[in-house]
């Protein structure tokens, strides 16, 4: 398989995952804000922080305000993490491998993009339309996933899709945990419990994890338990641990996967060693920081091994060193990987 094709498959999967995650997050936040006790200092800008685009938002729109934030996160393509940008990127990436996926896939992803393009702006403006629009996006994304599960061979292409899904999903989970804890901890003691519980219920709902949390952990929603669940539960598909496990399975089926596999295993060991009995802000922050760094390392290991193996002298024993082509420097098929997940906390 061509390196570029593998890279496009991987990024297509990442963007589709991000589309769904952003849609879920926005919907859950909208519901949550209705329930917060008065006095809790937290608002729509938490979404900007999760997406890592607060700075960019300020450049274009100034102070945080619901409708503007929604437009920015859903329909504004100047924001590379906007839902519409993600769908467009996913579609553009999938143009280049139409022969590898079931024919229907292209038609569906094209239809998903057209739907998003036609409705994003209008539905960003009011809560009611927005909820329906984002739910429809999620449903259509599920149809794409279902199509792949039902009719794509479990071959090399499939492993790159799986890698992309799980890298972005784990990325989103660590961001959500990080931003949520950062939002809860500075609150006054009296509000921390009540506000914290609502916030975590909202988070669990956003990830479709509320029922599973109750089954696997507890009826009570406590910060340390939720954090522990979202990072370390091995059964629920959106936990960091589960995502790392899926990456391991996918990599094991790919050739020359030694280096990225090492990175995944190292990340899992570090994750296993984390303890959340006492949710001290410093420790948690450190742990999440490390988890995010590890995901970055895994991505780079995959990139280096499969997408751009000729950038270094790894094939030094091989007589074919590529000639330099300055025209190609800095030219990438995919949008840049968000290097830093967290913005400096105020």
């Amino acid at each position: 398989m061509l390196s570029r094709v593998a890279e496009n498959l991987y990024w297509m999967a990442r963007y589709l995952e991000r589309t769904e995650d952003m849609a879920r997050l926005i919907n859950a936040t909208a519901l949550l804000l209705l329930d917060l006790p008065p006095g809790v200092q937290f608002g729509w800008d938490i979404l900007l922080q999760v997406a890592g685009v607060s700075e960019l938002y300020r450049e274009h729109y100034g102070p945080p305000e619901e409708t503007r934030i929604m437009r920015f996160l859903i329909a504004d393509e100047r924001n590379p993490s906007a839902v519409l940008s993600c769908i467009r990127q996913a579609r553009e990436n999938s143009r280049t491998f139409r022969d590898l996926l079931p024919a229907e896939f292209w038609e569906r992803i094209n239809a998903l993009f057209l739907f998003g393009r036609d409705h994003a702006s209008a539905s960003a403006a009011n809560r009611h339309d927005r909820y329906g629009f984002l739910n429809e996006l999620i449903a259509r994304r599920h149809a794409l996933v279902g199509l792949l599960v039902g009719s794509m061979s479990q071959d090399t292409a499939c492993q790159f899709v799986k890698l992309g899904n799980n890298v972005d999903r784990a990325d989103m989970t660590t961001r959500i945990v990080d931003v949520t804890t950062a939002a809860i901890l500075p609150q006054h003691d009296s509000l921390r419990e009540a506000g914290g519980e609502s916030l975590w219920v909202g988070v669990l709902r956003a990830m479709g994890a509320f029922e599973m949390y109750r089954r696997h952990v507890s009826v009570q929603v406590r910060s340390n338990q939720v954090v522990n669940f979202l990072l370390k539960n091995g059964k629920f598909p959106r936990t960091v641990k589960h995502c790392l496990g899926e990456m391991e399975v996918a990599l094991a089926l790919l050739p020359n996967s030694g280096a990225p596999l090492d990175m995944v295993r190292r990340a899992r060991k570090r994750l296993d060693a984390l303890r959340f009995d006492d949710l001290s802000p410093g420790l948690l922050h450190e742990g999440l920081d490390q988890a995010q760094k590890d995901l970055g390392t895994i991505h780079h290991a995959i990139h280096h091994e499969y997408f751009d193996p000729f950038a270094s002298n790894r094939h030094a024993g091989f007589s074919a060193e590529p000639r330099p082509n300055p025209q190609l420097e800095g030219r990438h098929v995919s949008a840049p990987f968000p290097q830093s997940f967290r913005e400096t906390s105020p």
């Binding site: 061509l2 024919a103 090399t156 790919l254 000729f310």
Partner: protein
């Protein structure tokens, strides 16, 4: 026949399916017998299913606009264009003869230049050529073949004569539409395919693969064949991916390939470098290799031309093949055929005046109102003057252009392109069309069965280009001799 519009009685152009008495020609009899038996609404219904099939099969060409790129479905007319096998065999022989001669000519130009030394082809034409590539001088590609894939445009005049209008020897496109059109027609009119001897077209991709594989510099292994595309924003990207898929070969962009210090071309794959044997390039020469051609090109592969010159990789069409894709060279093709093959040309050229010749120049300038004037090195109908439709000012401006650079202009009489019945609403109207067959040559010669029929969808229009509102039709070569058509 009630299906035909009134304009069928009045037109002067030759019609491919209908004779002067408004009766179907022999090869089209079965089709019309069938159409007349259909309910009037059935035709519209079949057209709708054709449109649905085109959408579902994702047959598109890409139009790049400021608002982003759009995949647009290409208009398809469900009434086929039909030729008899007997006539087609003549055309096929003529096309093969032409490409053989053109390849001998290109090989000669880059080597001994006998045809110039013998005074058959003027040296000054070569000197004025835009597509002669000094980097190709002295190269002997496999089988002496430079143009492996040729798309020649054929037109039929009022009196029924088929002429070659031009030979596209650089990167001709359109063959995927020919193949897909047939798939659609088989879905729409299965009963006709059962009853008539309509010759199949679908062996093209395996013939293309054989043609390319025969060029491989390595023997004894299954060659690695790559289709080299400029990428998703190219209008023919659909065709590139289609052909790669059908041949089971890689579809690569320039950045997916690199040339090693061993001057061998490699693909970047997830398991490391993989040696490439044959490149079917769908990129113009100018962009192939920034080391030799346009240094700003990001589409190409640095070192590709060097690798090709050393013979470690085959490129189809070979760099430099475009030298014969020049309208002045075109005028010499009958001479070229006689010179290299010692045969009389089977297919005629459209009579062509070369403005570089003093007598021709005088004639052209005196008859601008009757002639079509074309620049020698443009394609896609750019920079043309259609004399009868031009204003006196436009003709005066063109006269200046021609006088300033006579080598770069040719002129031809205005042809009345033939027509074929085309579905408009619930009846058939005549629309002008041409035909682009594709000819393959490496160790063997092969011609597509028929080709791509392009049709101008506007009444009276002669513009068949996909980018300018043209459409296409399926092209049937029907065997009347072996099994006469009869639909029970």
């Amino acid at each position: 026949m009630s299906l035909l519009s009134e304009s069928y009685g009045r037109q002067s152009a030759y019609d491919e399916l209908i004779d002067a008495q408004q009766q179907p020609r022999p090869a089209a009899k079965a089709l019309f017998a069938h159409l007349l038996r259909l309910d009037p609404s059935a035709l519209a219904a079949r057209r709708q299913s054709a449109e649905a099939a085109i959408l579902a099969m994702g047959i598109t060409f890409t139009v790049y606009t400021e608002a982003g790129n759009i995949d647009r479905a290409w208009p398809f007319d469900i009434i086929p264009r039909i030729l008899s096998r007997r006539e087609w065999e003549q055309i096929e022989a003529g096309l093969k003869q032409r490409l053989r001669a053109l390849n001998l000519f290109i090989d000669d130009l880059y080597n001994a230049q006998r045809i110039i030394n013998d005074g058959v082809f003027p040296c000054e034409v070569l000197e004025g050529s835009h597509h002669f590539r000094p980097a190709c001088v002295g190269i002997h590609p496999p089988f002496g073949v430079w143009a492996h894939i040729c798309g020649s445009d054929l037109v039929r005049d009022q009196d029924g004569t088929v002429y070659v209008l031009e030979d596209n020897l650089r990167v001709p496109s359109g063959v995927s539409y020919m193949l897909e059109n047939r798939q659609i027609m088989k879905r729409l009119f299965p009963e006709l395919f059962q009853g008539c001897r309509i010759l199949p077209v679908d062996d093209y991709t395996s013939r293309l693969y054989d043609t390319l594989a025969a060029l491989s510099p390595r023997t004894g292994e299954r060659p690695v064949v790559v289709v080299l595309t400029p990428g998703i924003y190219n209008s023919a990207y659909f065709e590139h991916s289609y052909l790669a898929q059908q041949m089971g070969s890689y579809l690569a962009e320039g950045a997916d390939l690199f040339v090693g210090q061993d001057d061998i071309v490699y693909l970047k794959t997830i398991t490391g470098p993989e040696r490439v044997d044959v490149i079917y390039r769908r990129i113009d020469y100018e962009y192939l290799d920034p080391e030799v051609c346009n240094p700003k090109s990001v589409l190409g592969v640095p070192g590709l031309i060097t690798a090709w010159r050393k013979g470690t990789v085959a490129i189809a069409n070979a760099p430099g093949a475009g030298v014969a894709d020049d309208k002045v060279v075109y005028a010499f093709v009958p001479e070229i055929i006689r010179y290299y093959l010692g045969e009389a040309p089977i297919l005629p050229n459209v009579p062509t005046y070369l403005c570089m010749r003093a007598a021709d120049l005088d004639y052209v300038l005196a008859h601008l109102d009757e002639l079509v004037v074309k620049p020698a090195n443009e394609s896609g109908g750019y920079g043309m003057l259609i004399g009868p439709r031009a204003t006196p000012e436009e003709r005066a401006r063109f006269a200046e252009l021609i006088r300033a650079d006579p080598r770069n202009y040719i002129a031809q009489p205005t042809l009345a392109l033939s027509t074929a019945p085309t579905l408009v609403g619930d009846h058939l109207e005549p629309r002008h069309l041409d035909l682009r067959p594709f000819i393959l040559q490496s160790d063997q010669l092969h011609v597509t069965t028929g080709g791509l029929t392009r049709v101008a969808m506007q009444p009276g229009s002669l513009v068949v280009n996909s980018s300018q509102g043209g459409g296409s039709k399926d092209t049937w070569i029907v065997d009347l001799e072996e099994a006469p058509c009869s639909l029970a």
